[in-house]
């Protein structure tokens, strides 16, 4: 739900369904575009750009998780498997068959989607904890068994595949440094957000939400729940596969260790923190889950290495000795506090703040 300024009336359905309904919103979006495509990449420095790339990768990865859990109610704990399928498909197509990167990336997405359908099939029969077990099986069967034992051996490269410089290019545009990766990431994030937001407000999206809220009621109303659940798995897997194929550009290498079970859990954490059932939630959650550990790492470094702090508080070096887990514990505590005090996630808080200013000074 959103609010428009007083006196702003719509005459056509087109206006009513527009993404950006007022000039003020258009202005904000143009400013955001200038920030994302000009100010940040040109003035932020390479370190912040590389952090942004990880945030972007997390957004791309978590988008499918949000679709499955947040919109369709199908809990997944094996999403890293679909990322891995996309990444490996893309790399193998580029290295073995010399297929151009954009086509390899799309095929990677399709492979991820089809692989996801395979593990989504049990969702026609089982749900809840049993479905979680099925998706966990996807993780272990795909990454630990299929990719590690078989796919990684293709071409005799050993476990890690390295991509020679100059392999990743889109037409004449060579993706060769973090700034290029950043632009690709920004385009993909916008594209994914656009696709996801439009899907959610279409017939398909309404069917997914109906299944999430009550699948039996949805079926009685004529929703083919098997078809729509499998479609949700396909789209989520496609997003995952594309995200995996994007990750390849960032690193120029891929190995099964990049797609371990912890990453699947991490992605669920992203949407829990950001807000389940919200596209904003994916973005806020990804920012939180990337920036907070990075900030904590810097904080621990400053506190333990700076002589001023160490002289003032001589116990600080113990953070590197006996209390190594302070960083992890602080991060875990932040998640717990969010779940207790803001169970709807950061996106809900964002929604409240936005509406406060939209309705100001009558914000009650």
């Amino acid at each position: 739900m959103s609010f428009r300024p007083c006196g702003n009336y719509h005459q056509y359905y087109r206006q009513d369904h527009a993404w950006w309904q007022t000039k003020f919103v258009w202005g904000k979006m143009i400013l955001l575009g200038i920030f994302v495509f000009y100010l940040f990449p040109n003035f932020a420095g390479m370190y912040l750009i590389s952090i942004a790339n990880v945030v972007g990768y997390t957004i791309l990865s978590a988008m499918g998780v949000q679709l499955l859990i947040g919109y369709c109610g199908q809990v997944t704990l094996g999403h890293a498997a679909f990322l891995a399928m996309g990444a490996y498909s893309c790399v193998l197509l580029m290295l073995q068959l010399h297929i151009p990167y954009p086509i390899a990336m799309i095929i990677g997405g399709i492979v991820g989607g089809l692989w996801s359908i395979l593990f989504g099939l049990p969702s026609a029969r089982v749900k809840g904890f049993y479905l979680i077990m099925t998706t966990m099986a996807a993780q272990f069967l795909t990454v630990e068994f299929f990719i590690t034992q078989y796919v990684s051996q293709i071409g005799g490269r050993g476990v890690a595949f390295s991509i020679p410089p100059g392999t990743v290019k889109i037409g004449p545009w060579m993706i060769k440094n973090d700034r290029d990766v950043y632009y690709l990431m920004a385009i993909l994030v916008i594209l994914f957000t656009f696709i996801m937001a439009n899907l959610i407000r279409s017939k398909i999206g309404r069917a997914w939400i109906a299944i999430r809220d009550n699948d039996i009621a949805a079926e009685t109303m004529g929703v083919n729940i098997v078809l729509y659940k499998l479609l949700a798995f396909f789209v989520a897997g496609f997003f995952g596969g594309m995200a995996g194929a994007f990750w390849v550009t960032s690193l120029a290498a891929v190995s099964p260790e990049h797609f371990h079970f912890g990453w699947s859990l991490w992605l669920v954490g992203v949407i829990l923190i950001g807000g389940v059932g919200s596209i904003h939630g994916v973005i806020f959650g990804s920012l939180f889950m990337t920036l907070i550990p990075e900030g904590l790492k810097f904080l621990i470094f400053v506190l333990t290495q700076n002589p001023i702090f160490v002289n003032l508080m001589p116990f600080l070096p113990l953070l590197l000795e006996k209390f190594l887990f302070v960083k992890e514990a602080a991060f875990g505590l932040a998640i717990v506090l969010f779940l207790i005090y803001e169970p709807n996630g950061l996106s809900y808080r964002w929604w409240q703040i936005k509406n406060y200013f939209n309705l100001w000074p009558f914000s009650y």
């Binding site: 590690t148 690193l251 290498a253």
Partner: protein, 414 residues
Amino acid sequence: MRMRMMVLVCFVLCFISSWAIGQEVRLGALQDTTGATSDVGKDEALGVREATQYFNDAGGINGKRIRLFQYDYGYRVPEAITTYKRFRDYDKVVMVLGWGTGDTEALSPTINADKMPYLSSSFSGHLCDPKKTPYNFVYGTDYSTNARGAIQYWFDEVWKKEPKWKELREKGVKPKFICFMDTASPYATAPIKAIKEQATILGFEIGPDQHVGLTALDTKSQVLTAKGFGANLVWHGNTTMSVSAAIKDGHVLALGADHIINNWGFDENLPKLAGPAAEGAMGLLGCALFIDEYPAKNRVLEYAKKLNPGIPLENRLIRTVQGWVKVAMAVEAMKRADKAGKLNGPGIKDAFETFKDWPGLKEYGGQLVTLTPTDHRYSSIVRVGRVVKGRPQTVMEIDMRAKYPDKWAGWLGY
């Protein structure tokens, strides 16, 4: 109010001045102190810090102080990537002391593009071929050579000589060999191809690989499979914690096989964790154990007591000494690069490649180091240890180049 302002200004000034850039050399260290390999990573991180302090006290890099930027990445590859970018773009280090095989191999294309020397705790053989990874260096005999040496030692010294295997030996039975490792971990899988090739050379029968996670606490199904196969020798490719779980399960289920352990799984903690099950277990050693006698021991003890007094010396491991080895090798390369007036990435790489029988690591129980522009294998000497009466100790050193002179060149980058 004014007082408060003054205190604040003093504080800020002190803060800024303490961070002011002087004559310093910036060194990045990526550590795992909280992740899947923290069982060995914590101690290594301590060693790196203590060694850096020592070298600073001893004059740094030709008078320039080393400033160490040490971060934990919890063995998470994305965090390793952002940390590396932080080293490169924010901390502006001249070289990086890396950690795991997964992140080192993943970062390899990036560091080569950035011309950033990367001295890693991963001794993966894949990182030793300068044609593919010109900026990667290791500070121990590579995993593949080590694995070949270990299995060679077992065949020559145990299978052929020990009464335990006399009956089978006399029957002319082929030794049965099986590998336990985390199949999704590049560290654990790095030497598998080499060790299996060596097993074939020696005429072993090779059983099915068994997946044991790096954080595994129960390995009974893997041990039962190994028992069903009739394994005489088990290779453990993980770190100490899961290796000790596997050895204990092997003991409980009467596996009866001998154990050989990769170097990050063999240390003073193994007998503590596995108890009597660890007796006789063999493993690879990159340098002296913390409990051993070695020329630099007093120095290592002194800095351990001085900088990290909260950690009892009896809890220290070989990993501390490995931290010293890592820093000592990096310092030597930086000193040579500085003397040549090229204290930067390509300069440090060139300096590493001038190492010829460099004896600096002998003080820590390491080997003579020779690196060339065409071969980044640190040494061909494999140091094998064994747990005897509850205490790990060195039992033999094997020179694999001398033993296989015709094959040695072909094993580069294996």
